[in-house]
């Protein structure tokens, strides 16, 4: 493990710039009817941009990239448990109509 890592302001401002561009993109994409190409494409694009933005915040603003492995494990675990909740619950509700 290296010495305490200080992230430079230059990186913070670059990340901020990318986040602003992504915010603009997500609003612009919502104004276009993407669903006519593929049902649900609008929400897929919106969530992909949101996940990308959130990852940048975790990796750089929250220093996830420079954290020790066990801290990174906690980060991944929290996303994993959330995915378990969403996936298991939805797979129940969606399949209730089947029979």
């Amino acid at each position: 493990m290296s010495e305490h890592h200080i992230v430079s302001p230059k990186i913070y401002f670059t990340i901020f710039g990318i986040l602003m561009i992504c915010t603009f993109l997500t609003v612009a994409a919502a104004e276009v009817d993407l669903n006519r190409y593929f049902t649900g494409l609008n929400i897929i694009v919106a969530l992909t941009i949101a996940v990308f933005k959130a990852s940048l915040v975790v990796l750089f603003f929250m220093h996830g990239k420079y954290s020790p492995k066990r801290t990174q494990l906690v980060i991944v675990a929290s996303v994993f448990w959330l995915a378990v909740m969403l996936f298991m619950t939805m797979s129940d509700y969606v399949t209730r109509q089947w029979s």
Binding site: E31, F61, S67, P68, M90, Y93
Partner: protein
């Protein structure tokens, strides 16, 4: 006990002490993910059940306020990140100013949120006995749009509550930073409250497209 950055006996190095504090904060944040997760779960289920009505209800929320608030909140994350940098670099004056900037941006966010809530109040879009989606709306439309607005107020309300707590923490941080308490050796409160603030930003990054941007076209 007033902590100043000495090494406690249970740790071998300062690095280990710092990482332990950060790990604890991350474990707390993972419980927060699941706290908000329940609401996101409810949202996912109801939106998949009533996709059309959720889209209609979402279109009555002003996109411009939501977009401005997204910019404001991400800017506050930048100033918070810069506050952490200032504390690590030992720039005490800059630290205080970045903390104040974060607090101001957080307050602007809450101010805009209250304007939005007031708009919804005027439009009878607050779930309850006086709720009416639009004049002459039938019972089913009123019932299902109320689901959307219950989630809207529940999710943005819990988020706003976190912002208010964060603002309180920032006031305390500013006060302590004015005493010159944070140094490159000891800045754990700045770092951990920073993590909390960024987490609240991430929640908003998801709330914005899910509540404001449903099939806007």
């Amino acid at each position: 006990m007033h902590r100043t950055g000495e090494l406690y006996e249970q740790y071998r190095t300062m690095e280990q002490q710092r990482e332990t504090a950060s790990l604890g904060m991350w474990i707390f944040l993972s419980t927060e993910v699941l706290f908000f997760g329940g609401l996101f779960m409810t949202y996912t289920l109801n939106r998949s059940t009533y996709p059309g009505i959720f889209s209609e209800a979402s279109k009555t929320i002003k996109l411009s306020w939501g977009a401005i608030n997204t910019v404001v909140l991400i800017a506050s994350s930048l100033t918070m990140a810069m506050a952490v940098w200032a504390s690590q670099a030992g720039r005490k004056k800059a630290l205080t100013w970045f903390l104040i900037a974060t607090l101001v941006l957080g307050t602007v966010f809450l101010g805009i949120k209250s304007i939005e809530y007031h708009d919804k109040y005027v439009e009878h879009h607050i779930p309850g006995w006086s709720f009416q989606f639009e004049p002459g709306a039938d019972a089913a439309t009123n019932a299902h749009t109320q689901l959307f607005f219950s989630l809207y107020f529940g999710m943005t309300g819990l988020h706003a509550l976190h912002m208010i707590v964060g603002a309180g923490l920032l006031i305390w941080l500013t006060k302590e930073s004015l005493k010159g308490r944070f140094t490159p050796e000891y800045n754990t409160p700045v770092e951990n409250i920073g993590l909390y603030w960024h987490f609240v930003d991430i929640v908003w990054i998801f709330l914005f497209p899910l509540l404001y941007l449903i099939d806007r076209h």
